[in-house]
Structure formats: C-alpha cells, structure tokens
Symmetry: C2
C-alpha cells in the first residue's frame, strides 16, 4: 500500500480524496491546508495539519493547490525524496525542480464540490522526466481512471487553452443564450436538449463536420434579423463568431 | 386518424416521418418534394409526388422546407382549408397568412439524417391564432413529444438566436479546441468528458453560476500565456470572450 499526503482542500483535492477512499493500492494518510477551517470536512476521516513542518513521511505528495500558491508552498516545503506531484493544467513540470522526484498528475475535468464525479472516465494527463517515477504516477492514475495519457508540459499547456475554448467559453455562450431567453420570457429549458445533442455530436463526429446554422449557410437575412435582437456586446460576439465560421468554412468551398 | 401530407425530404422531414410511423392518431399519407430524386427513400413507404397540383386531401399539411423555399412553395400552393404548418425557427407565422388555417410546428433540435433521435424529449414550439387549430397542433405535437410550448413568433425568433449561441457557436468553439489539439499533437478525445460535463452542468445549474476559468478569475498570467499559443483569429476570439466574461461578472463584484 502506497501512502499519499494530499495538499489542498479545494474541488480537485476533495474529489481525489473520495476517489482513493476505496483503493487497495493507495491510501491518503494526511491532508494539509494552511487554513484549519478548510480542513474541517476532513478531520474525522484522516490526519490533518496546517504545518508544512509536520507533513508525514509518505510515498507520494500530491499538491492539489491553486496555481498561484503552488510555487510558494514548494518554496516553503522541506527538501524530500518523496515523489511530489502537482495537479495543474497551466503550470509547467519544472516548477517542482527542487524535488528529486517530481511529476504532473492533471485530471482534465471541471469539478464542482457538491457534484459527484465518476473518476474512471476522467482523463488524467501525467508527466515526469524519470522512467521509474513515470511507472508510479501511471499506477496512481490508472488506479482511479481508465484514461491515462503521457502529456508533455507544452502539450498540457495547449490542452489547457483548448479546454478554455470548449468549456469556459462554451459556458459563457450558454450564459448568453440563457440571458436572451430571459429577456424574451422564454424558458431556457427549451434549449436543454439542443445543448446536450450538440455536445454529444462533437464526441461522435468532428465538430468541423457538424457545423450548421446561418453563418455556414451564409444566410445574410437571418444573420441581420438576429443582430437586430441583440445588445451591443452580443452583436460583437455574434459578428466575430459568424465571421470566423465563414473564414474557416469559406476556404473549403 | 388524422391524415398528414409532408412537404420536404430534408433532416426535419425525415425525422418527422419516422416519428409518426407508429402513431395511432396521425398518419403521413403523402410526401412532396420538387425533385423526384429526393423522394427515392420514401417511395416504397408512402405515396409521393413532385407536383403541387397533386397534393392529396388531408387534415394537416406540414411544410418542412428550407426557409428560402417556404415562401415560394406557399405562393405556388392552391388555396386550401387544410391546416398548413411550417417547421422553421426563423420564419414568422404570417408567411402562411393566405391559408385560412395555419400555424407553426417548430421542433427545436439539431438533426442529422443518419442519427436517430428520441422525439419524445425534443421541445416542439407551436403557434397559431385560432383556438381550434391550436388544439389540433397541440395534439399533433404531443403525439410525439412530451414537451410542447406555446411560443409567439417574436419569442421563437429570440429562441432561434439563443440556439445559434448555444449550438452553432458552441460547435465552432469545439472546432477551435479540436484544431488547437491537432496542431499540438494531443488527442481531442482527452477533452470529451469535459465537453459533456460542461453541457450537463448547464442543464442543472444556471450557466452564469457555473462560470470558471482564467477569465473570471482575472488570471492575467494564464491569459497572456494562452494568447501566445494562438493564431491571430483565435486570439481575437479569446480576447473578446475573456473581456465579455469579465464585463458580465465584473459588474457583480
């Protein structure tokens, strides 16, 4: 049984804690956070500490911390031979260079604290520069997920940008859709099946081949009538997205 | 048993034809299209015609036609007492004014010819200006769907714009995500669970409350490093969407 100390109590840390609860190969033996209040949900389940000098000996330290606190915690941590991992999509491997054994363990999903997730379907992107460590990280990841990928820091950065497009920005377009519905007293739920079908379709065929709508049809009458309905900011978004769709698909005609 | 003549052989028409196949209350007795080639898939299943003068007597004519051919077909159709419906999201009710009984029957979903759909979950937006016709359209819609909404032409227009945001534009962001992955030799499938979770979340909580990412966190370091990775067009989209997210959510801070 490999022992893990988990640093952090946010969404990723909380879901990892749940995911390893039933593991036969890995056990989380301690949770660290600088604020004792954040440790309250863990205190009856596992050893806790707010003191970086009282971190237990273990096989793996997982730093599931915010990007901007990661460097600081690394700086304050004692040097160690334990394998130290971070879980960030945006931070390069080299931020952990001071540790002899280090790597990245990046679960690519959007987590909400109160929503259960099935970790077995969540891709985990791993990286290290040492073959032996790679094996341990791979075992750690495949202990909870069926989808483990070796991804370099450069690739991970591009994945992170792509994730912003397909998740953060997509969610903002949902927000605009909801706001247009509200303004016109139409229930947003009418759009729910469309949202789900559009997402599902992108998993089955290339989204490039699935493009529909007035932009790709170059249906200028519909485009103009839509613009009339929108506020200035929505008009800007609508125009730029329409133009981008036409640029991409126009090239192929 | 009410008799239907279906005008059109595109995605919507094809799926409607399938949906009413097992109905006990409605029967599609004829399919019209101006091109006989398009009628081939129907010829062994139902009466077909390419001649607007040979449309069968029936209880309902459903014009599942492209927006830009709808007006022309209406113009060429003989006057009739039959209830005439169109299935478009963008065309107002009044385009059918020449017919005594007319209405809108707009299934709000993205259809692909080769992908089966469960019509029972697809919202159907109906409209008419006659109570008696409303009852018949309502029966027609609820015969295949659990979700029938009375929606005015104005509301339908706003729904159609909102649908462009949450479906056509969202699909384009998926396309950009896929293209970033390809350029960096990362499998797009790593993003599949994220795409699905983001969509599912928007169905359970308001997308406005679900917003995450560097834009809402105002994480300028990450934003700058992302922009470096993108081409000019992607940078424009990234900047405008980031700015819009910050405008919306900045107001509330």
């Amino acid at each position: 049984m490999k022992r893990i100390v988990l640093f952090g109590t946010g969404n990723v840390a909380t879901h990892l804690f749940e995911a390893y609860k039933n593991s036969e190969d890995f056990e989380i033996i301690q949770v660290y956070n600088h604020a004792s209040k954040s440790l309250q949900p863990f205190k009856d389940k596992v050893a806790i500490t707010t003191d970086l000098n009282k971190i237990s000996p273990a096989d793996i330290y997982i730093l599931a911390l915010k990007d901007d606190t990661l460097a600081e915690v690394c700086f304050r941590m004692k040097d160690t031979d334990v394998l130290v991992l971070h879980t960030s999509g945006a931070v390069p491997l080299k931020v952990l260079n001071k540790f002899k054994h280090h790597g990245v363990f990046y679960p690519l999903q959007t987590f909400s604290k109160n929503k259960k997730v099935d970790f077995s379907k969540i891709p985990i992107c791993i990286e290290t520069n040492n073959q032996e460590d790679n094996q341990l990280i791979h075992d750690l990841a495949s202990g909870i997920s069926e989808k483990v990928f070796d991804i370099s820091s450069e690739q991970r950065k591009s994945l992170h940008v792509a994730a912003v497009f397909v998740s953060n920005f997509v969610n903002f377009l949902y927000t605009e859709g909801e706001s247009i519905c509200k303004e016109n007293k139409v229930p947003f739920e009418i759009l729910h099946p469309l949202i789900l079908e559009t997402a599902t379709k992108a998993l089955n065929i290339s989204p490039k081949d699935a493009q529909t709508g007035p932009a790709i049809r170059k249906d200028q009458d519909v485009i103009s009538s839509h613009l009339e309905l929108l506020n200035k900011e929505q008009q800007e978004l609508y125009s730029l997205l329409t133009q981008s769709i036409q640029n991409l698909h126009g090239k192929e005609l």
